[in-house]
């Protein structure tokens, strides 16, 4: 079983009030508490009247409109601190598939990719440890051994007619361009071809040996394993003015833009069309980039890659690893797990490529996608066959992705639901305002299980503790809304003989506050919130750029949001717009170089 991320979001079964309560210098709660610690607060937190003023200040700023930004979006933008990005396991697998026709997914055996803000593709986080390079070496050896068996298909020349070294040179130039996603320099070609000399002293046959070593060297190179970006000077010339070189920014080369596009939209290397566009210098303008992005999103490769954003952001695939305590969930069959993931994947695919693409439906949709086995699991009738199809849901029970089984399961515990995990999930993933941590050295004790009470009753008793109430007023009233869904996402109206009460309230948001009754109502409330829609854009920014936003990015994200709304929250047109942004097409000029060249005219 894969541990819940919620366990991490919320250090404990519950939270204490330090960051959330006020005033900060109030009397401390426990003898060993840190000064400035928890403040007892009056127990006045019925779900519909949370103590907002005391708690909202402790949350990070929500995604919101930036007053200082240029509304016309014409000024050059700071592209932000973009690190070179190591290939993720998925990107490695897809790349060798497209490069060599090898679908063996060798990266599945690599160390898992480090996570950052819930995403597995964050540049700052991905490591290259000693064990990684061993794994890269072994994978390159296996891939080269497979490739040499298909030598004639991969070779652009005939070694016997043209000479071995000459043919290897042709191969290095053409294959190397695809492997490193740019033309190789002459010295690089020479160095790789020199492996033909080295092979002379090795086991024959020499040509095949050299071929394998060349493939290995290409695949173990940082030029393959990283998406290297150097950029080039950006020279502009206004009418009647002298040409001027941008002092703070470099423009990505066309080859670098090709890789940004292909790894964003396909999680793989550029195809022939992108590489020839780069060769012909046809990726320099916004229009050219947008046209490629549109073409690529029609390609089947775009589907798993873009769905993966939602997968990682919403933690969908974690459902594949959930386990359930047979005492409480005796009829839970692990075989249902991939079906729960598939439900959400199919739902998202339809939202992106189907006929109604307004992403408000991500949270508000009146339908989901089921097949017969999954429908039976949910107790839905009239769905036959193993193919997934669109099925209407009861709008008083379900609305959108938050009410789907995968999300309900990954935010539950093995033996019970967790209003705390679910509430924290909404705060962090959907509202982009994660909760502060509990303070050091204070007792943090989750409710004791009690078969005579409902989950809600247990948590309510527990959060009645004044020290807990501050933070829990932000979490529990949200999480209680999901209590009609058990720990595997099935609808329930009673628990332990108690009727389920799924009334709750949102608080401390910019524009979504208010009471609701049940998860469907909560979801529709979230769908209409600008904070939530800005959060979608912010999360997509993190995924697309492989990093979290910095203050210099906020104007760019503001523009992305404006485009997102203009486009009716159509995700594909949003991605198209993102690829034309300055953050996508430029890099910061390194500081030293910056100083040297500031304001210079070529």
């Amino acid at each position: 079983m894969r541990p819940h991320r919620s366990a991490l979001l919320l250090a404990c079964g519950t939270l204490l009030a330090v960051g959330c309560a006020s005033p900060p210098d109030a009397a401390v709660h426990e003898a060993d508490a840190t000064p400035g610690g928890a403040a007892p607060a009056p127990v006045t937190t019925p779900p519909t009247e949370p103590s907002v003023p005391a708690t909202a200040a402790s949350l990070p700023p929500p995604p919101q409109a930036q007053d200082h930004c240029d509304p016309l979006d014409l000024a050059p933008r700071d592209p932000g601190p973009a690190l070179i990005r190591r290939l993720t396991r998925t990107e490695y697998n897809n790349t060798v598939r497209d490069l060599l026709g090898d679908a063996s997914a060798p990266a599945d055996a690599f160390l898992p990719d480090e996570e950052f803000m819930g995403f597995h593709n964050q540049a700052g986080s991905l490591q290259v440890s000693a064990l990684h390079v061993e794994q890269y070496m072994q994978a390159s050896e296996r891939l080269a051994a497979t490739a040499v068996a298909r030598l004639s298909a991969l070779l652009p020349c005939e070694p016997i007619e043209e000479g071995e070294a000459a043919c290897l040179r042709t191969f290095v130039e053409s294959f190397g361009l695809r492997a490193w996603r740019r033309p190789l320099e002459a010295a690089e070609v020479d160095r790789l071809v020199s492996l033909h000399d080295a092979a002379a002293t090795m086991e024959p046959p020499r040509f095949e040996r050299a071929f394998q070593l060349i493939v290995q060297a290409l695949l173990q190179s940082p030029n393959f394993l990283f998406r290297i970006e150097v950029g080039e000077p950006y020279v502009t010339q206004a009418l009647g003015a002298p040409a001027r070189e941008d002092a703070t920014r470099l423009k990505l080369t066309d080859y670098e833009v090709a890789s940004r596009l292909s790894y964003l939209i396909w999680q793989s290397m550029p195809d022939g069309a992108l590489l020839s566009a780069a060769e012909q210098g046809r990726l320099g303008t916004r229009e050219e980039v947008a046209a490629q992005a549109r073409r690529m999103m029609d390609d089947p490769r775009a589907r798993p890659a873009l769905i993966d954003f939602f997968n990682q952001w919403l933690r969908v695939d974690e459902v594949l690893g959930i386990e359930r305590d047979p005492q409480w969930y005796p009829d839970f069959d692990p075989a249902i797990r991939p079906l729960l993931a598939e439900e959400t994947h199919a739902f998202i695919e339809d939202l992106l490529w189907g006929s109604d693409r307004d992403l408000k439906a991500l949270f508000a949709a009146d339908h989901t996608w089921l097949n017969e086995s999954l429908a039976r699991f949910y107790g839905v009738e009239g769905v036959e066959g193993e193919a997934f199809r669109r099925v209407a849901v009861n709008p008083s029970q379900r609305a959108g992705v938050l009410t789907q089984g995968a999300i309900m399961a990954v935010t539950a515990k093995p033996n019970m639901t967790s209003p705390v995990f679910r509430g924290a999930y909404v705060r962090e993933r959907v509202l982009c305002t994660p909760l502060p941590p509990p303070p050091p050295n204070l007792p943090i004790v989750p409710p004791d299980p009690d078969p005579n009470s409902s989950t809600r009753q247990k948590f309510e008793q527990h959060s009645a503790d004044p020290a807990c109430a501050g933070c829990h007023s932000l979490i529990d009233p949200v999480g209680f809304g999901f209590e009609n869904f058990d720990a595997v996402g099935r609808w329930r109206t009673e628990e332990n003989g108690h009727p389920v009460d799924s009334s709750g309230a949102l608080s401390a948001t910019l524009d979504a506050d208010g009471p609701f009754d049940g998860a469907a109502a909560l979801s529709r409330q979230l769908a209409e919130s600008e904070q939530v829609q800005r959060c979608v854009v912010t999360q997509a920014f993190r995924f697309a750029h492989g990093r979290s936003e910095v203050p210099e990015d906020l104007c760019g994200i503001d523009s992305l949001y404006a485009a997102y709304e203009r486009g009716g929250r159509d995700f594909l047109s949003f991605i198209e717009h993102l690829t034309t942004s300055d953050a996508f097409r430029f890099r910061r000029r390194p500081a030293a170089e910056n100083a040297e060249n500031a304001g210079s005219t070529p």
Partner: protein, 444 residues
């Protein structure tokens, strides 16, 4: 060299034997005229119950083990048990208490800012400096095939809460959780035809020669931040090259042979947790016996884990939840105590494996020190005070064992510094963040 096959079988849990490769002392060790010192970090998460953990009564050398450490009774004379060591540096910096504890535990440095949620609005990052295993490997530069070795038992999250070893600030070293992968990495080449291995080495060397030039070319072009990223990659490639050279050059050690071949496990499995642990401990013990590495970490699960001990029937609650049980929740406290007792049993088993390997007049355990630790002292308060540290083994005589040492709130950096001295880095003046290091604890 007196080697009893029975002792070997006993020590290694009666594992199936491949062809034993009984050989002489590790060449590297013999060159130094002594057996090498090894450091193993033995980690399990979420703290313990100190009141059931601390030795009872008596004096520094005359004390009784308390219930949670009772499984270590047969190794009592190999232990140093610490009370009153604080990890104050973990109460500093951003992030939640588990992440801070993990980042600090072996580095003694304040956690870096970053973007990992820990239920934390501020968010935190990776550790701020090298961990003791990596730092000692840098300082002492062992001539072993693996500079360091990182093994995990379901330490599967890819975040700060599942990392204890750091190459440097912001450079976590991930553990290998699949015993079969460890086996393949360490032992697959052992019974190979030396000529085949030599040819492979020649090929690999020539490929890496080409790859190495790519780094130099790129360095000239990249932005400074990117260069740092690439430098880590380049250093790992250099390590790989050294490892390849050593792989052929270094003969195996006294009791060095191929251990039992593990099956392929689901590394996230709760049911197989104990079995995976057994394999990882056997593999690590053999790696030490073979002098394949001298600095290693063995990480049982991760902070904030959702791990239930289903293999012993504890299906209701995971370890992290149990660690939060209230002080008066007798049933949950009892379950949490059982989990902690199990970890003590694992350490005892691992020490058995080390003690079964003769080295000179003593055993491998005499030349090793195992640091047993957790990122918290107590789960339900997230305390970093009075941390549960235990040392096992004598590090070649540098550590006087059979002791219960009671301090009054000394920083754990002092203990880590003392450990560095015991391992042979006697010139070190401080460890980790200097503000939290007031001088080495003398372990002799």
């Amino acid at each position: 060299m007196n080697l009893s096959r029975r002792a070997l079988l006993r020590g290694l849990g009666g594992v199936a034997l491949g062809l034993p490769l009984l050989q002489t002392l590790p060449r590297a060790a013999r060159a130094q005229g002594a057996f090498p010192k090894r450091l193993v970090v033995f980690f399990n998460p979420n703290g313990t119950l100190k009141e059931l953990w601390s030795p009872r009564g008596g004096t520094e050398t005359d004390f009784a083990l308390s219930p949670l450490l009772a499984p270590l009774e047969r190794h009592k004379q190999d232990l140093v048990i610490f009370d009153g060591v604080d990890m104050a540096v973990a109460d500093t910096g951003p992030g939640g208490p588990h992440n801070r504890g993990m980042a600090t535990l072996l580095t003694g440095e304040i956690i870096l800012p970053g973007n990992f949620a820990d239920g934390d609005g501020q968010t935190a990052g990776w550790a701020g400096g090298p961990s003791i295993d990596q730092l000692l490997a840098d300082r002492l530069a062992p001539p072993t095939r693996f500079r360091t070795l990182e093994l995990g038992v379901r330490a599967i999250e890819n975040e700060p809460r599942a990392r204890i070893s750091y190459r440097g600030a912001d450079q976590p070293v991930p553990p290998e959780n699949q015993p079969l992968n460890v086996y393949t990495r360490l032992f697959a080449g052992m019974n190979q035809d030396p000529e085949v291995m030599r040819r492979l080495l020649v090929q690999r060397r020539s490929v890496l020669d080409v790859v190495r030039e790519d780094f130099a070319r790129l360095n000239a072009k990249l932005a400074p931040e990117d260069r740092r990223k690439l430098e880590q990659h380049a250093e790992s490639v250099r390590q790989l090259e050294r490892s390849l050279e050593a792989g052929v050059a270094t003969p195996s050690g006294a009791l060095c042979r191929t251990p039992e071949i593990p099956q392929q496990f689901d590394v996230g499995s709760e049911d197989d947790f104990a079995e995976i642990a057994r394999h990882q401990m056997q593999l690590l013990a053999m790696a030490l016996a073979c002098d394949m590495t001298r600095f290693s970490t063995l990480e049982f699960s991760s902070a904030l884990n959702a791990l239930r001990f289903t293999f012993m029937g504890l299906r209701e609650q995971d370890g992290h939840s149990l660690s939060h049980a209230g002080d008066f929740s007798a049933e949950q406290q009892a379950q949490w105590a059982r989990m902690n007792t199990w970890y003590a049993e694992q350490l005892a088993y691992f020490l058995d494996l080390l003690r079964a390997v003769p080295e000179g007049d003593g055993t491998l355990l005499d030349n090793t020190v195992v640091l047993w630790c957790s990122e918290l002292s107590r789960g339900n308060t997230h305390s970093h005070s009075d941390m549960p540290f235990v040392l096992a083994g004598r590090a070649g005589g540098a550590i006087r064992t059979g002791r219960h040492r009671v301090f009054d709130g000394v920083p754990h950096n002092n203990l880590l510094l003392g450990l560095c001295h015991a391992m042979g880095a006697g010139d070190m003046q401080s460890f980790g963040n200097r503000e939290f290091c007031t001088g080495a604890i003398d372990l002799g």
